[in-house]
Amino acid sequence: MALGTSPASSAIDIAGGAPPLTSTPDAFVASRGFWGNVLAKLLRDPVAMTAACLILAIVAIALLSPWITPMDPYRGSMVRRLKPVGDATYILGSDELGRDMLSRLMLGGRLSLFIGVTPVILAFLLGSSIGILAGYVGGWLNTVLMRTVDVFFAFPSVLLAIALSGALGAGVFNSIVSLTCVFTPQIARVAESVTTQIRSRDYVDAARLSGASTLTILRAQVLGNVLGPIFVYSTSLISVSMILASGLSFLGLGVKPPEPEWGLMLNTLRTAIYVNPMVAALPGLAIFIVSISFNLFSDGLRSAMEVKS
C-alpha cells in the first residue's frame, strides 16, 4: 500500500503542520515512479513471485542443461526401455528408446522455450507497431491495416499454424515464422484498441496543442500507456505459443528427432501410454507447468500495473 500512504501522509502534513518531517517519505514514494511501484507490487504478490521463480528456474536449467544433465540425453539402450518413474538409474524413467527422461526434459526445455517465446517476442514487436500505427493515425490506414489483420482471424490459430508450417516445410525456423504469423494479428488487434482508447484522452490533445510532432507524442505520451497492456497480453500468449509449438513438433512440423523437445517427446511417447503412462505424461506436465507459470505471472503483472484513479 505504498501509494495509499502518500495522500495519508499529506493529510497529516496539513493537520500537523510539520512539512520537514513528512516531505522525505513523500519524495521517496514519488521518486519510485510508475515502474518502481509495479515492481514493488509484484514483489508482494506471492502467486506471481512463485510463478516467476519457477520460470527462472526452468529457464536456468534449460540454459545450463548441456553441462548438468545426469546422463547423455541422446544415448539409448534397447534393454532399458520405458523404465518407470523412480527407477534406480533413471530417476524420471526412460523413453521408448531407453534414453534418460530427466536429461531429455532438461535439454528439451531449451528448444521448447525457444520456439515458444521467440514467436511471441517477434509478434509483440510487429503486432504493436501495426496496432499502434493503425490506432493512432486512424482513418483509412486503420481500415486497411485492421481489415488485413482480420483476414487472419478467419482461421483458427491451430489450423493457421499447421497450414503455414506445412506450406513452409518442417523445421524450427519455419515453425517460428508460422507462429509469429499466428500471434501478430492478435497482438495488433489489442494494440490497436488500446491505442485508439489512449488517443482520445485529453492529454494527447493537450500534447498536440503544445505543438509536439506526431512522433514525439507517440514516444512521450502514447507509448508508455499502451505498451503495458500489450505486454501483459503478450506474456499470456507465451503459454499458447508453447503449446502450439509443441503441437507442431507433435505433428512432425517443428523439431525433428532425435532432438529433444517437449511436444515431440509427447508425440513419440504416446505409443507408450498404456505401458508406462507416468513417463508418457512427463513432457506434457513440463509444458503445463511452464505455461501456467507464464499465465499466472502475466495475471500478477496486470494487476500490479493497474493505476488507481
Binding site: 514519488a30 512521450a220 505520451q221
Partner: protein
C-alpha cells in the same frame, strides 16, 4: 514570475493594438457525417453551424448553452483539434493557419484547459514532467523547463517540493485542475480556452480555482474563452456572454445585460431554469419543455421555434439574423428585429 511575461498592452506579440479583437470567429461551420442505417442516405450532424463572435483583448467571454449545443466543438475547432469545414478565424488580425500565423505558432499563443482533470494528465508522467512537456517541445532546455514548471506549480498554489514529482492519481481533482492550468500557462499563451474547466469540481474547490483563474488573468495578461453550463459561474467570471443553441450563437453581449435582461427567449428560459436560493421563489412550470431538436435535422426557420413561447408563423419560415439590439448586444430573434413580421417586433426606425 513577472520577468518573462511582458504584461503591458504594448507587448511585442501584440500586433493590432488594444482595439483589435484577439480572436474573431466568422461563420464557423463543422458538420460531422453520420450514416443512417445500411445503405441509407448520408446525414450530417450540424454540430457547429455558422458561429460568429469575437473576443476582445483582456476580456473573458463566456459561452453557455445546453449539452450538445456545440460549445465544446467550437472550442476544439478554434484550437485546431478538429478541422473546420467553413469559416474564418482571425487571431489578432491574422488568419489562423495562414503563412503569417501557422497553426503551430498560433498554438504557442493559445492553450486549452479541459474538463476532465484526470484524463488530461498522462498517468505515467510526473506532474512537473507534464507541465514541462510543452516548453521542452519548443526547445527549452530540460533544466529550465523543469524550473519553469516548478515556479508555475508554486504560482497555482501547489508547493513544488511536495507535488512536482507526484503522479496524477496521487492528487485530488482540484489539485489536478491546478496542474492543468499550470500546463496551459507553461507556453505563455495570450488566449486560454477553458472548456468546462471548473464544472467537474465541487463547489468550494470550484470557487478557489475561479479566483485563481482571475488572479492569473491579471498577472499574465490573459484573455479567456470560458465555456460553461453554469450561469452563476459565468456571471461571476465573464465580461461578455455568448449563448449558443444548436450550433449557433443566439445572443451575445455584456454579461450584466445578457444575464439580467436577456433578449432571446432561450436565454430567458435558461435563466429561469436556474434553481433559486429563495424557497418562496419556486419554479412551478418547466421553463423549457422537451429536448433540443435533433441537430441532424434542425427545424426550418428559427431553430428554437418548437420550444419557444413567442413562436409565430414567421418563425417557422424565416431564419433570424444575429442583429444588434443595442451597440454591444446582439440577438438572433425575430421578435426583437424591426420589420421582421413578428407581432412583437419593434417598429422600423427611420433613422437606422
Amino acid at each position: 514570475m513577472s520577468t518573462p511575461i511582458a504584461s503591458s498592452p504594448l507587448s511585442p506579440r501584440d500586433r493590432g493594438g488594444p482595439g483589435q479583437p484577439l480572436l474573431t470567429v466568422e461563420g464557423l461551420v463543422k458538420h460531422f457525417p453520420v450514416k443512417k442505417g445500411i445503405g441509407g442516405k448520408k446525414a450530417v450532424v450540424r454540430a457547429v453551424d455558422g458561429v460568429d463572435f469575437d473576443i476582445k483583448k483582456g476580456e473573458t467571454l463566456g459561452v453557455v448553452g445546453e449539452s450538445g449545443c456545440g460549445k465544446s466543438s467550437t472550442a476544439r475547432l478554434i484550437m485546431g483539434l478538429t478541422q473546420h469545414d467553413k469559416g474564418e478565424m482571425l487571431f489578432d488580425g491574422e488568419r489562423i493557419g495562414s503563412r503569417a500565423l501557422p497553426l503551430r505558432e498560433f498554438r504557442a499563443q493559445a492553450q486549452m484547459v479541459f474538463q476532465d482533470s484526470y484524463s488530461s494528465l498522462n498517468p505515467r508522467m510526473t506532474i512537473e514532467g507534464s507541465i514541462a512537456f510543452g516548453p521542452r517541445v519548443h526547445g527549452v532546455p530540460k533544466r529550465q523547463a523543469i524550473e519553469r514548471a516548478r515556479s508555475l506549480l508554486a504560482r497555482v498554489g501547489l508547493e513544488p517540493a511536495r507535488f512536482a514529482a507526484r503522479y496524477p492519481h496521487e492528487l485530488s481533482g482540484g489539485q489536478r485542475q491546478r496542474v492543468n492550468i499550470a500546463r496551459a500557462l507553461a507556453l505563455e499563451p495570450r488566449l486560454v480556452v477553458l472548456d468546462e474547466a471548473v464544472s467537474a469540481l465541487d463547489k468550494s474547490v470550484e470557487a478557489q480555482v475561479l479566483n485563481l483563474l482571475m488572479d492569473l488573468k491579471q498577472e499574465f495578461d490573459l484573455t479567456y474563452l470560458f465555456i460553461s453550463h453554469d450561469l452563476n459561474v459565468v456571471r461571476f467570471i465573464c465580461d461578455r456572454v455568448a449563448v449558443m443553441y444548436l450550433g449557433q450563437v443566439v445572443e451575445i453581449g455584456p454579461a450584466d445585460t445578457v444575464l439580467a435582461d436577456p433578449a432571446h427567449p432561450y436565454t430567458k428560459a435558461l435563466l429561469s431554469s436556474m434553481p433559486s436560493m429563495d424557497p418562496d421563489n419556486r419554479t412551478t412550470v418547466a421553463p423549457l419543455a422537451g429536448d433540443p431538436p435533433n441537430p441532424i435535422d434542425p427545424p426550418p426557420g428559427c431553430r428554437f421555434n418548437p420550444r419557444c413561447s413567442l413562436v409565430e408563423d414567421v418563425c417557422r419560415s424565416q431564419v433570424p439574423p444575429l442583429a444588434p439590439v443595442d451597440p454591444v448586444h446582439r440577438v438572433a430573434c425575430l421578435a426583437r428585429q424591426p420589420g421582421s413580421g413578428h407581432s412583437a417586433a419593434p417598429a422600423l426606425s427611420v433613422a437606422a
